[in-house]
Symmetry: C2
Subunit: 190 residues, 2 copies
């Protein structure tokens, strides 16, 4: 479990009344496993903070095959950034992989926050930088690592997920078929 | 050609003395084609704004094969974000694909800017959001589009580059061998 206020306190300091104002803009949601929070063709209105549990962001290609773009575990944020910013329909599905406790901030409330408490610009600038680093690293890994090394990277990045998620979602994240993944797992040392 | 002040004026309004202060922090550099601006193992100290020309960000894998991560044309920024933020050695090479006119902002000067003129937090927050959208889209395209569709996306995203760059760099960007790329080009309608 990571609280949203702790997450923010990593980068900016808030006064008590600022904390109160911020929390007044945030919505709460508890979901069971396999709940769809966003689907392709919808406009993404929220940045979602994961307090506990795990969400999965994925796309479906023309053949109906799922491609996992990212997982968001406790303390992470997730959104379809394209859709959130442009307010146009996006391509991303966001689904709970486990039971999860979420906090939601709409783009409208985020803009309000920037106006009322400008240091939130700093918080989200740093958050977005970190997200960009993780996303660029994923491209580099996809282009230059083999499947086995990508799996080891997955374990390093999401140590808690290895035993918690269905193998097919991990396989999709590292970009191999479930069959190839099972074969690979049998050949890895414990 | 896009001026840095125009680039900034898209998102925030600066007073004359703020413009002056900002420009006092920015370095200028003109480079010929094929100049290496950053290499693997170095710490990336600058965000680079491309005033004219084109830069290429790439990695080399264990076999010495080049993987183009992104191009930066006039009006774009480029950096090894991981290295810039963590101040650790990065994996990215940045090289000029054409003659180019660049403006450079060190991370130290950027931090100074955030302190002196906080609305730059807003500017870089928006810039980083846009960059994140483009990077996420590249992952989605890599995972779900075929080579031919990725090439069409490349043309849409970088309309000016198609005839300006060596085919091998475009091939690397879309993730195919130069041989496959030539074959594909012959099969595309003009």
């Amino acid at each position: 479990m990571e609280s949203l206020l702790n997450n923010i306190a990593r980068y900016i300091q808030l006064e008590d009344d600022e904390k109160e104002y911020f929390l007044s803009l945030v919505g709460e949601k508890k979901v069971r496993r396999k709940q769809l929070l966003l689907q392709e063709g919808e406009v993404c209105h929220h940045s979602i903070f994961v307090k506990s549990g795990c969400l999965r962001g994925y796309t479906l290609d023309k053949n109906g095959d799922e491609h996992v773009i990212s997982f968001a575990t406790a303390g992470w944020w997730i959104a379809d950034m394209y859709s959130l910013i442009t307010r146009k329909p996006g391509q991303l599905f966001i689904e709970s992989s486990t039971e999860a406790h979420l906090q939601l901030l709409t783009r409208e409330h985020q803009e309000k926050l920037f106006e009322q408490i400008p240091k939130f610009e700093r918080f989200f600038r740093i958050l977005t930088e970190n997200s960009l680093v993780a996303t660029q690293q994923r491209i580099i890994d996809n282009l230059s690592l083999g499947a086995r090394e990508r799996y080891l990277e997955f374990i390093r990045k999401y140590p808690s997920l290895k035993d918690e998620l269905p193998q097919k979602h991990i396989a999709s994240y590292i970009g191999v078929t479930p069959e190839f993944f099972s074969k690979m797992m049998r050949s890895l040392p414990e």
